[in-house]
Amino acid sequence: MGKERVAVVGIGQTKHQATRGDVSMAGLVREAAKRALDDAAMTWADIDAVVIGKAPDFFEGVMMPELFLSDALGCTGKPMFRVHTAGSVGGSTAIVAAQLVQAGIHERVLTVAFEKQSESEAMWALSLPIPFTPPLHAGAGGYFAPHVRSYIRRAKAPDHIGMLVALKDRQNGLKNPYAHLHEHDITFDSIKDSMMLWDPIRYAETCPSSDGACALVIGNESVADAAAADGRKPAWIKGTAMRSEPTLSAERDTVIPLAGALCAADVYRQAGITDPRRDVDCVEMYVPFSWFEPMWLENLGFAEPGEGWKLTESGVTALDGDLPVNMSGGVLCTNPIGASGMLRFAEAAMQVRGTAGEHQVDGARTAVGHAYGGGSQFFAMWVVGSDKP
């Protein structure tokens, strides 16, 4: 079955902060949505359907928050859907929205993802005291740190790689006015001297807890053509893919997850990418702990197994490198969990639209957005391009 050509024609995000004490949950979500509508030169009435994503309901303690947010997003009388795939949800949500347009069901879909972490604390919600089980999981860091250690051993990576990633992403974040963390005085040594929280993960190698939202308007070919004619460049969606795998499988490779590799292979096939290292101009990937940059470089095919850290070490992934990674500062600078995946997808779209401001990669024509979630069990990716497919 043929798919319609679709594009991102509007992008909005909030200023991300530890606590957005000035807005309600609904107000936060609207701040991003309104900016996306303005960017798309549309009003609420122009939207056919709304797709909302966020991570577990426990985080804010509102069950199925899409129900009460429907008023805020102008959903009355419209189709409204909620997507939930843990940390990858922002990416999955954008893909569901894109598919509603690709399938020809709607012409213009607003998609929004958010988290207001200040209303509660995600680490508590991720460490529920499950009966019969020792309380060992100290949040996501406690879960992922052993996998990072496995990577370091398998790849024979030197210790400083994680610190290099943290330094790069925090410095990239300084160029992004929406980023939560703006650490002007960060240095390699300050990262090295920061507390070892979940050995081998240091405090300065972890993501913050943020309040924030991201929104995209996705339109069909005629909507995108009209935007282009109006001087508002669309980001054409060249491929979308989602994959998942069981968390507790004896067959599972937690360093190079199969589902992540299959997701990448699928999205590259759709986008006609045969050598991602050569064909992709920049990548925005989901790196909540710094060591995940080299891990995902391998998982997504930008490097051979065991070689990802060498790209980081040699500066290939720097903003002025050959393959810039996390130009926005990434999850390490901004982590409103439910929105984090969509922020990656949005940054990729901004790059190919040429609207990324100070963190723009010159001449970016093909960009990859990536998100993962759960215990590395959900993966979502898209490839966007400046040229119509």
Binding site: A26, W44, F58, G61, D71, A72, L73, T76, F132
Partner: protein, 157 residues
């Protein structure tokens, strides 16, 4: 699941209690509603079609645009629909039989939820006039209204 002979009595279960404080930011519109409760005042927001919505909607339910005009309503109002709870749950606001009611404060065009302490089901009716009973110590929380009570005849009209 693995063996039909499993004795159901051997399936283990244990209480799982989930409790969080949830500190919510209100934004200016809901914040004004809570400020009003603290000051013993009910406020609603005026929608684009002129209706006054209470609790105030932050956004127009039809157009989706921001609503910015807050107006004082009530505090007395009229029961629009109600449900009689014979056996209150321990989380309910009252520990004896009461009515949940959608109450439209005077001057408002929509209703808000409240617990009406009417004594008996016979004392409840659609159209009943009620007024809020304010907590002695109010902090800007929906619980600042401890309950609603019928307005004695001849009062509050």
């Amino acid at each position: 699941m693995t063996d039909d002979s499993t004795d159901q009595d051997e399936i283990l279960s244990a209480p799982l209690i989930i409790e969080y404080p949830f500190q919510r930011t209100t934004g200016p519109v809901i914040g004004a509603f809570l400020t009003g409760l603290r000051e013993r005042v009910l406020v609603g927001s005026r929608a684009e079609d002129g209706r006054v919505i209470v609790p105030p909607a932050e956004f127009d339910p039809v157009s989706g645009n921001d609503l910015t005009e807050l107006v004082e309503v009530g505090p007395a109002g009229e029961v629009q629909t109600w449900a009689w709870v014979t056996a209150p749950h321990d989380k309910h606001p009252l520990d004896h039989p009461f009515a949940w009611a959608q109450i439209r404060p005077d001057g408002a065009d929509t209703a808000m939820l409240g617990a009406v302490d009417a004594g008996t089901i016979e004392a409840m009716s659609t159209g009943l006039r009620v007024e809020p009973v304010w907590a002695d110590e109010r902090v800007g929380h929906i619980d600042d209204i401890t309950r609603w009570v019928p307005v004695a005849s001849g009062e509050g009209a």
